[in-house]
Amino acid sequence: MRIRAGRDHGYGGDGSPAAASAASGAGAASGAGAGAPVRRPARRLRGWGGVGAMAAACALTAAVVLLPLAQAAPDGVGPGAVRPPATMALAPATPADTCQDPEASLRPGGVDGPAVERIRKAGKLVAGVDQNSFKWGYRKPDGHLDGFDIALVKAIAKDILGDENAVIYRAIPTSQRIPALKENRVDIVVRTMTINCKRLEDVAFSTAYFEAGQQVLAPKGSPITGYDTSLNGRKICTAAGSTAEAALKSQSYGSVPVSVANQLDCLVRLQLGEVDGIITDNALAAGQAAQDPSVQLVGSPFTREFYGVAMNKDAGDLVRRVNKVLENYRAGGNDSPWMQAYRTHLEAVLPNVTAPPAPKYRDG
């Protein structure tokens, strides 16, 4: 298991959302590499021997590395990290990957290169987005696209072209995200897309614009309290090929796993009473909770994965430009555009996020 000194930078005491979403507010205590257990709720310690957990986590991580899940993962539920269960108290796991720091991106810059030039010439930014991901990229009843991802696309268009509406939205299917970029059919893809090493072989990513993690979604009033022993005997739904499915396979807490094609299908099964709970990426789970007020996220996320804006691998100038946009997007503390978009689209269903994830950069 690779230890990720650098990752804690993004996690540590700069008010990252991970700390915030862990709902303990103690994120600042987690120093680089120190792996202090402070923020973990004590109850998650139950039933876990440190050694056993470590072994389980390593095995799981290895399994995820080996499984070529990238293509099969629907809607950003990519092969993310299965974070060692909270007891581990080590630094949060990296996405199970083969490269160092996948979410470290090029430093921001405002110098126009050929990619930005081309967008300017076209007068329109061509953005690949989702239209079925509630609160992220979805069609409102009036037919217009809206959501957290869409707001970011608008900010990028405004920066490059001076007009947030100078965008051609391409509602691309999941499987077309990478081909569309490689063939330059779209300039950017903002589609709850998880940054990982496998995808970095084909495309370039901006800095992370959102941190997500696997979390349990259950009906309000359900005895299920999180990814723990309260799952015992319950039917838990996951998307086939997702990180959540792999996690349940390795540690089911006595639950009965039910696998469906897509994470949203889980909500259908839950509403029909065929399952008792759902495990999925909390960002997408938030979209589910927004469509059904009677369900809610419970417990804390037990993995970390980052969403990034994907671009053509050769569009270095565009990556820098988007990173510059993201810098501005994050700036302004509580009134930053990022926080405003968060409050508009996500806060109601994914509360307690106090700041965007801190960017990480690499040189070269």
């Binding site: 293509q71 099969a72 629907p74 809607d75 061509v126 690949g128 989702d130 239209q131 079925n132 991901s133 509630f134 979805y138 069609r139 409102k140 009843p141 037919g143 939205y169 391409r170 509602a171 691309i172 299917p173 999941t174 499987s175 077309q176 569309a180 059919r185 779209v186 090929g241 094609a261 897509n262 949203l264 299908d265 909500l267 259908v268 979209g287 589910q288 469509q291 059904d292």
Partner: protein, 476 residues
């Protein structure tokens, strides 16, 4: 003893004591030979008397007359019995089992059509066109009606009942999922699409296979009725030949003994028996050919066309769902879109079904709608490819009207599908008519045969008795 009498002993065995025993009961009523009462058993007495009668010519004549009349009546009875069986089976084909099979096909199609209509309506969003909704409602109403009808009328056995019960349970569940999908979609929630996909899965994995099994069971029942109607009336043919043989022998014997060429009664009886046998042969042959034509020219084509139609409906549903699911569900190869794969698969089935239908179509008016459907499918494929390309490019706003059509996109793939569907409907109607015509023709060939053979047999028996009676009177 003449040669003739020896022959009798072998063929009809009437005068021989042993043979007399076997025919006496049948011969009893028409030619009342010795009446029983006596101290010994009636049977032994009868045998005794018969034996005594066979020693004199009038006695022999009485026995011969009784046997002839009995044979002619036996022939008539077996003809009536066997032909009415075939008439019933042929009537079942035309009036019962074929309609039930057609109803099962219609149920199958209504379900597939409802699924297609619901996905089309869903794609159009809050502005779901009224006629699409009406089509869905009509399909569901039709399916429910046919289901009740099938439950009341089926006699294809326990398996059919099981399928009907399953369909009865699952149909309300399906409509519930569709309404949930619609209501959620109208609020603009992507969850609606997930409900629609779930409903589609229920339809294609539970309801449609059950409907298909029901259709096949009913069609199997129909084919059984065909076989019953087409089976040759062997007993009647045999007894007919026997009766004719006996009549010819009796006349020959008569000629030898009296040198009179014709005995009017016996000639009339022979004519009656011959007419019945001929009528039976010709009528049954015609009925067989009519029914065979109904089966090969109508029913087989109907089956192929129905299957093609289901494939076209499912292909259309797959095309719609590709736009709805947006790659959310992958096929087994983990890379292609499940619904796109299903579209391709169903289109392939549609192609091969239409090719078979074209081969089976036996006249130009049957071939025309099928050819139209073939052309429609080619156009549909072209338009689908264009729409799919647009969609893969990410231009959903353009791909949508390319698939469902609007006032600026008359050349949508949906319009091609409508052409295919209408042509197939026409082809089905044509084949159904061909079937009914041919089967009715077959049934008509048996018309009057039952009454006719009964009447002629009675006349023939009476004539035989009269003829023998005339000879007998010469001994008084």
């Amino acid at each position: 003893m003449t040669e003739g009498e020896v022959t009798v002993a072998i063929t009809s065995r009437a005068p021989a004591p042993g043979g007399g025993v076997s025919t006496t009961p049948a011969a009893g009523p028409p030619a009342p030979p010795p009446a029983p009462p006596g101290p010994r058993t009636a049977w032994a007495e009868g045998v005794e008397r018969l034996r005594a009668a066979a020693t004199t010519e009038p006695g022999r004549l009485r026995i011969i007359g009784a046997v002839l009349a009995a044979l002619v009546l036996l022939f008539g009875t077996s003809a009536v019995w066997e032909v009415s069986d075939r008439v019933t089976a042929a009537e079942d084909v035309v009036g019962h089992s074929q309609p039930l099979s057609a109803d099962a096909a219609s149920l199958y199609r209504s379900l597939a059509d409802a699924d297609t209509a619901s996905s089309s309506g869903f794609l159009a969003g809050a502005q779901e066109p009224r006629e699409v909704r009406e089509r869905y409602e009509k399909d569901i109403a039709n399916a429910s009606r046919l289901l009740v009808n099938a439950a009341a009328n089926t006699d294809a056995g326990g398996d059919s009942r099981k399928e009907i019960a399953l369909l009865g349970q699952q149909l309300p569940r399906y409509t519930g999922l569709i309404e949930q999908a619609r209501a959620t979609n109208r609020q603009g929630l992507p969850l609606g699409g997930a409900y629609l996909r779930y409903a589609n899965e229920q339809m294609s994995t539970v309801l449609l296979p059950a409907a298909q099994r029901l259709y096949e069971a009913e069609t199997g029942r129909l084919y059984k009725d065909y076989d019953d109607a087409r089976s040759w009336p062997a007993v009647a043919t045999l007894t007919g030949l026997l009766a004719l043989g006996a009549l010819v022998w009796a006349q020959r014997r008569n000629y030898r003994r009296t040198n009179r060429v014709f005995n009017h009664g016996l000639v009339a009886a022979t004519a009656a028996a011959a007419v019945v046998l001929l009528w039976l042969t010709v009528g049954q042959t015609l009925a067989r050919s009519g029914l065979s034509e109904a089966r090969s020219g109508g029913q087989e084509s109907l089956k192929v066309l129905n299957d093609a139609r289901i494939a076209s409906l499912q292909a259309r549903a797959g095309e719609n769902l590709t736009l709805i699911a947006r790659g959310a569900v992958l096929a087994e190869d983990k890379t292609s879109d499940k619904y796109d794969v299903e579209f391709t698969k169903n289109m392939k089935e549609l192609d091969s079904g239409l090719a078979t239908a074209l081969r089976l179509a036996d006249d130009s008016s049957g071939r025309r709608p099928v050819q139209q459907a073939v052309d429609g499918v080619a156009q549909w494929k072209r338009r689908h490819a264009a729409a799919r390309e647009t969609d893969m490019r990410g231009d959903y706003e353009l791909a949508l009207p390319q698939v469902i059509g609007d006032k600026d996109h008359k050349d949508s793939s949906g319009a091609s599908f409508d052409t295919v569907d209408a042509s197939l409907e026409q082809a089905v109607a044509h084949e159904q008519e061909q079937f009914t015509q041919a089967a009715r023709g077959g049934l008509g060939a048996l018309g009057g045969l039952v009454t006719g053979s009964a009447a002629l047999a009675v006349i023939g028996a009476a004539a035989a008795l009269l003829g023998i009676g005339r000879r007998l009177s010469e001994y008084r």
